[in-house]
Structures are given as structure tokens and as C-alpha cells.
Amino acid sequence: MSHTFDFIFAGIGGQGSVAASHMIGDAAIEAGYRVAIGETHGAGQRGGAVLSHVRLWKEGSFGPLIMDAEADAVIGFEPFESLKSAARFLKPGGTVVTNEHPVLPSNRNYPEMDAIFANLKKIPARVFAVNATQIAKEVGDVAALNIAVLGAASGSGMLLIPEEFLKKIITGYFPKSAELSLKAFDLGKRLVAERV
């Protein structure tokens, strides 16, 4: 049995994290991998945290759930959700790529941003951040947030999948707004920076 490459996609309902995980899955098939993605739908989605497990491999067969402390990377769409998921799922020395723009809960009870990044580093992890929310606003579609995060993940060098496969899939998902989406991807890739 060979090993898997395990990614956790962590976000909040409506941020497009599930769609992004499926784009990675589609691109991975193009790149010759087998894929299993696990997620739970239903009531939990209404404004709550959304988590997808994405597993890629070449030989053998695997279930859709990643074990605690075994994910190679966390791809996060919201900083606190990234920390929560990384604390549970990321292997020591794994990679985190996260949107740095927070979504505050209604009582505004939210940790300090510095504490979030300091704790991510304690895992220990390599941490990459980008303001994907800002990029999405700049390209003119708040829904492009997930593409900006995918661009950042690609830019961090942790994705196994060659950029051209990803761009082909993104274009296929958004035939009418491909230019805008690819711009969000490129900006995410260019602006992502490692937190040291």
C-alpha cells in the first residue's frame, strides 16, 4: 500500500471551500492521481465551519477521512478555522496556507491575529498567508476568494498538482468569468508570503 497526500480544506459556509476542494480533485485526476474527498453536508453548513478532507494517491485504495495529526497541509479560507483544523489534523512540520482575513462571529469574540499565527507556528508548521478576501474584492467578485486561496496554495509550492492542470479546471468551472478567476489565482500566487 502506497501513501497518500492529505489536504484539509477549512472554511466557513459560503466561502467556496468545498468547490475549491473539488477543483483540486478534478485537477488531480488530470494529473493521474486517484482521489477521495470527504465532507459533511446539511445543517452544519448554515454559517458554520466547513471541512473537506482531500486525499490523493497513486496505488491502493483509501477512505475519505484523514487521521488526526496526519495531514500534509491545511488550506484555510479563514484564519481561526485554519488554526482549529491545523491543531487537529496537521502533521508536525506540515504546511498551512491561509487567507488572513477573519470572519468575525456575531459576538465578536475572536482571538488576536498574532496569537493565531504564533500558535500555527507552534505545531510546528510552515505558514503561508495571503489576503484572499482583498484579492477577491480587487478582481471584482467576492466569490473568487476560493480561487485566490488556490493560487496562494500553488504559489507556496506545496501543491503536487502542476499549475496548468489547475488553471484548466478553473477555466472549466467558470467559463463566463475565467479571466477574472485566473486573475484571482495569479494574484493569490504572487502575493502569498511565508510567515517566519
Binding site: G25, I37, H41, G63, P64
Partner: protein, 637 residues
């Protein structure tokens, strides 16, 4: 035809387990599909509907699971292959007809019943294991796919098996198969469409019995099921290529597993560096006794992994009692595997490590990080969406009853509006299952309590199971108020249409079953239709109805805000303009935060004023009607 109906055999694509079931049905030449929505099953019928017209398939959202099964079985009597889908709660609604279809006979077309169980109850009110019904009550074969690839193949095969054994076949999915997504390869789609022809197959059986016994004999029917069909099914199970036995590990320990647990075991064994004899079951009922016997006679102990009940474990125990009494069968009954909840690789590793005498996996110490996270874990609570009409309805009922000085007894039902039972609305305190609100309100209203009783039920749930409950209530003169939360769709499961929507699963315009007329015909004396977005008017409306103290029904009618936004987007329209809180005018009374609880409104503790997140606000304007200071205004752009 959507991405799942593409006619490109050999194409490899990413499919969710539920989409794969739909594709399997298409590749089997299935021509009829019926379901009532329910997580985690809804995508199956949605997917069939996406390609139905291209392949001459009829796909329908039925009003409940019982009628879905009848419709599906009806099509088999016309020679069509037919698919019926529900979640585990739904199969409970199919019990009586499904027993009869199993004891008697389905039509010439195969009947495949796909049931999506929800171990852990991620989206359900319990996690019961429906295989118990399939095997013990319906007595029909069970197929258990492990992943999307197998979901497609087993669904396709199930139609063939149904026609061979002349009985319904049970395909048992679980959340981690239904909602797992993986690479699946498309097969051929049959081009021939056999002509529909009515042929009532059970009549042959009836005639056979009349000739033999002078009358139909139910015991004969049951006997025939046992001595003939289940025996044939057991032979199929023994020869089935999906039931595989590998004899690694030198004979000390054997493992038996079904469903997604099979993958967990492969991963756990590889991580533990262990080998075992392994019987994998794609067809778990009837048990493949020859393969089981081979395993039992080669090992000293067998451990069973399955979700959620010890179903295979009991079958194996019962078989081993005579076949291999020396073998210890371990699992849920012996405390070696968890008795409830879904399995994970970790749970499987822990159980296997115990049995194999291996070291259990350890996890890195993250105490410090977790301590920092802990205070914030509950910050994103489950709640109704911004703009949800149910929030306004709950607020209106609360305010109206407070004005009247009345403390009502509220009973809830199954749907998004279940969240009206949570703070701050606290609209009701009891919920059971589909239709239970009106059903229980009847008993409570007849129990001699003083408080007025109100049953809260969604529109789709009312059409599903509310109608007979309401007729029973008026028939027995139970005086209470039924509150129908009518948002025009089945909201919780993904906006599927129902008899009040005006269109069906295939997008065709259909007649609306008039809710007011229906309620009146059920014998309700006072019927009031209110728009929950007109808060003051609705409060007065509720007061008027409650003051009459009659058998009443309030229909709160307003489209689901999420579906409304989706429709606007489809039409290329921008969303309604968001509102903002005028920080000068806000007096910090917190009514909008504490009493209404819209997720778009937050509380800025530093300045003690409410704030609206313009990305979340859906411009419903309900909060503007609640604010006493009129501090909430439209954002001018």
C-alpha cells in the same frame, strides 16, 4: 444532461457517492426514479433529474417516502427498472409496503431501494442502522458500497439481481460513502428502451396458491421467501466477486468488514504494519457462508468492523455457533469496537492494536495550542440564515404571545426551522420526526393543560406527514394552532420542490396544491395567511387568531431567503442592498442581537452598539422593523 449524464464510456471523472449511484442507475437502463429529499441522500434523485429527459427517465420528488416506494414499484409492474431513494429515517416510512413487495412480488422491472444511513447522525435525529429492517423485516439482500466507484457498480448490479431474485434489492449507503467524492470511470449507457407494458406479476403467485390451497396463503408466501429466495440469494452472495477473502497473516486473527470501514482497515493495517485474514463484504446479507466458513476455520479470533449496529457480527455469531464454535467473534457485543457512532481509521487502529498486541498510535502533544483555541470553539453556532423568514415568524409568535400575556406550549418538526427551538427564539421545546408536531400537539391539547398549544411545521413536512395528523386532530376536536412555515421549497435539504412550489423535480410547471384550501378541507376553522416580513402586521394577525381559541392554522408565507438569492443570481440580478446601523442613532438596546439573532448583526462591545456585516446582510429589512430607534438604514451606494 449535467456532468453525470455525459455519454463518454471510459471517461474518468470526479463523482460524489450519490452522483455515482445515479450514474449506476443510468448505466443499468433505469427508467423511473422517486425519492423524498433527506441528507445525506438528496443528490441521488437530483442527479437523476439532471439527465432524466435525455434518456426517457421519469424522475420525481414524491411527497413522502411511502408514496415514492409505491410509485417506484408501480413502474416495475410496467416492466421498467425503478430506483427509490431515501435517508434512513425515510425507510421507516416504507416499512409496510416494502414488506409486502418483498413477500409478494415486484414487477418485471428491477426495483432498487437505495437508503443512505447516517452513522453519527451528522444530519439526522438519530443514527439507527437500517440494515436491521432490510434483513430482519423486509428479508431482502443488502449491498454495501465502500466508495463512489463501488456505489456505481453495485447500483448497476442491483437491478440485475432484483430481476434474478424477483425482489427489491437494498443498497445501503452511509454518509461517508454518499458524501465522499472520488474518481469514477463512466461505463456504457444502454440505448434500447423496452416498451412499457402493464403486467401484474403477483397475480401468478395468487393463482398458484388458489390452485394449491384454495386461497392465498400468507405462510406459504413467507415460506417461499425463506426456502427459495433467501437460499438463492445466499448462493449469489457466496459467488459474488465483491465478497473477497484474503488469507494473509498466518491465521491468528481474521477481520470481517463492510462499507467504508473496509478502507479504514486497509489503512490501519498498513500503519500498524500488520497482516490479517480479511473478509470484505460488498453484499453483507445474506452472509456468504462458504467464505465465512473458510475464514472461521483458519483463524482463532475474528473481529468485525461495521457501522453502526453489530449486524454482520450477529449473523457471523449465529453462523459460527455450529460452523466453528471454537472461534471467538469480537466486535461491538464484546466491547472490542465502539457500540455507536461512525468509525474512523483511528478507532479501527486502536481496536486492531488491542487484538493484535500492537502498540496503539499516539498523537503529538498540542495541549498549549488547544488551550488557546478552546475559549473560541463555540463561536460559530448553527443558526438560521440571514434573511430567513422563519426567524421573523418565530419572533412574531414570541412577541404576539408576550403581548397577550400567554405562555404557549410549542412543538416543532423536521426542517431548517428546527433551529427556531434554539436561543434566542426558543419557539418550541419538543421535536420528534416528520409530522410529529401536529401529531403530538393533538395529544397535548387533549391532556387538559391550560396553555394554548402551537405546532410548528414546514410546508414540505406538512405535505409529507402533516395532513393525516391534522385530520386526526380536527376529527377528535383537538383545539390548537398549527403554524405552517411556508417558504415554498424543501429548504434544509437543498431547495427541492414540493406540491406547493409550482414545478417538479424535472423543472416542469405543475399545478400547486393549495395549502389554504387543503388546511380548510382538513377541518381547520380559522386560517390566516401572514407575511413574516411584515412584522407588526403579523404580530396583530397572530393575536387575532389566538384570541378566537378555535382549531386554527397560521400560514407564514415568504420564500426561503437563500433560494430567493439563488434565483436572483440565476437571472443575473444583484442581491438586495444591505442595511447598516446608524451608529449615532443606535442606543445599544441590543434587541436586534439578543431577541432577533440575525447572523449578519454583531455586537461591538467596545462602543456598545450593533453592527451589520454588509457581506452577510440580505436586505430583508426585518431588523429595521424591530429597531425602536429606527437606527437601521439601507446602505446607499
Amino acid at each position: 444532461m449535467g456532468k453525470v449524464g455525459i455519454d463518454e464510456p471510459g471517461k474518468k471523472t470526479l463523482l460524489m457517492g450519490n452522483e455515482a449511484v445515479a450514474r449506476g442507475a443510468l448505466e443499468a437502463g433505469c427508467r423511473f426514479a422517486a425519492a423524498y429529499p433527506g441528507t445525506p441522500s438528496s443528490e441521488i434523485l437530483e442527479t437523476v433529474a439532471s439527465f432524466a429527459k435525455d434518456f426517457g427517465i421519469h424522475a420525481q420528488w414524491s411527497t413522502n417516502e411511502t408514496v415514492a416506494l409505491w410509485a417506484g414499484a408501480g413502474a416495475t409492474y410496467c416492466g421498467l427498472r425503478s430506483l427509490v431513494v431515501a435517508k434512513h429515517h425515510g425507510v421507516a416510512w416504507m416499512v409496510d409496503p416494502l414488506i409486502n413487495f418483498a413477500h409478494w412480488q415486484i414487477g418485471k422491472g428491477g426495483l432498487v431501494v437505495v437508503i443512505c444511513d447516517d452513522p453519527q447522525g451528522h444530519s439526522s435525529s438519530n443514527e439507527f442502522d437500517s440494515r436491521n429492517l432490510a434483513a430482519r423485516v423486509f428479508e431482502i439482500p443488502i449491498l454495501e458500497p465502500a466508495d463512489p466507484r463501488e456505489a456505481k457498480e453495485l447500483t448497476k448490479y442491483a437491478f440485475e439481481l432484483s430481476e434474478t431474485l424477483k425482489c427489491p434489492i437494498y443498497v445501503r449507503m452511509t454518509t461517508r460513502v454518499s458524501h465522499a467524492t472520488g474518481d469514477v470511470t463512466f461505463g456504457e449507457i444502454p440505448k434500447e428502451r423496452p416498451k412499457s407494458e402493464f403486467y401484474p406479476t403477483p397475480i401468478e403467485l395468487g393463482m398458484e396458491m388458489i390452485v394449491k390451497y384454495g386461497w392465498v396463503d400468507m405462510a406459504y408466501l413467507h415460506e417461499r421467501l425463506h426456502v427459495k429466495r433467501l437460499k438463492e440469494a445466499a448462493e449469489v452472495s457466496n459467488g459474488f466477486t465483491g465478497n473477497t477473502l484474503t488469507m494473509d497473516g498466518g491465521g491468528a486473527v481474521g477481520v470481517v468488514a463492510s462499507g467504508v470501514a473496509r478502507h479504514y482497515i486497509e489503512e490501519a493495517l498498513s500503519k500498524l504494519g500488520a497482516e490479517v485474514a480479511f473478509l470484505q463484504l460488498s453484499m453483507s446479507y445474506p452472509l456468504p457462508t462458504e467464505k465465512a466458513s473458510k475464514l472461521l476455520n483458519a483463524v482463532k479470533r475474528v473481529i468485525v468492523f461495521e457501522e453502526t449496529d453489530p449486524f454482520i457480527e450477529m449473523e457471523l455469531r449465529s453462523f459460527a455457533k455450529d460452523a466453528a464454535p471454537q472461534v471467538a467473534i469480537l466486535g461491538k457485543l464484546t466491547g472490542h469496537t465502539p457500540v455507536s457512532g461512525e468509525l474512523t481509521v483511528l478507532k479501527v487502529m486502536n481496536a486492531l492494536a488491542d487484538v493484535l498486541g500492537k502498540e496503539k498510535p499516539t498523537s503529538p502533544d498540542r495541549t498549549e495550542i488547544n488551550a488557546m483555541i478552546k475559549p473560541y470553539l463555540g463561536i460559530r453556532r448553527i443558526t438560521l440564515c440571514a434573511g430567513c423568514p422563519h426567524r421573523a415568524s418565530g419572533y412574531v409568535v414570541r412577541k404576539a404571545t408576550q403581548d397577550m400575556g400567554v405562555n404557549y406550549v410549542g412543538i416543532g418538526d423536521i426542517g431548517c426551522y428546527g433551529m427556531m427551538g434554539l436561543p434566542p427564539l426558543l419557539s418550541f421545546m419538543l421535536t420528534n420526526c416528520m409530522g410529529g408536531s401536529i401529531g403530538m400537539a393533538n395529544g397535548i391539547a387533549k391532556s387538559g393543560i391550560d396553555a394554548p398549544v402551537m405546532a410548528f411545521i414546514g410546508d414540505s413536512t406538512f405535505y409529507h406527514a402533516g395532513v393525516p395528523s391534522l385530520i386526526n386532530a380536527t376529527f377528535n376536536d383537538a383545539r390548537f394552532t398549527t403554524v405552517i412555515l411556508d417558504n415554498r421549497v424543501t429548504g434544509m435539504t437543498g431547495f427541492q420542490p414540493h406540491p406547493g412550489s409550482g414545478y417538479n423535480a424535472m423543472g416542469e410547471a405543475v399545478k400547486i396544491v393549495d395549502l389554504e384550501a387543503l388546511v380548510k378541507a382538513c377541518g381547520v376553522e380559522v386560517v390566516e395567511v401572514l407575511d413574516p416580513y411584515s412584522i407588526k402586521k403579523s404580530i396583530e394577525g397572530v393575536k387575532k387568531v389566538l384570541a378566537e381559541k378555535k382549531t386554527a392554522c397560521i400560514i407564514f408565507r415568504r420564500a426561503c431567503s437563500t433560494e430567493y438569492l439563488r434565483n436572483r443570481r440565476r437571472k443575473g440580478l444583484t442581491p438586495p442592498k444591505p442595511f447598516r446601523v446608524d451608529q449615532e442613532a443606535c442606543n445599544g438596546c441590543k434587541a436586534c442581537v439578543d431577541e432577533f439573532g440575525c447572523p449578519a448583526i454583531s455586537w461591538d462591545g467596545q462602543v456598545a452598539k450593533a453592527v451589520i456585516d454588509d457581506a452577510l446582510c440580505r436586505g430583508c429589512a426585518n431588523c429595521t422593523q424591530i429597531c425602536m430607534e429606527r437606527a437601521i438604514k439601507v446602505v446607499k451606494q
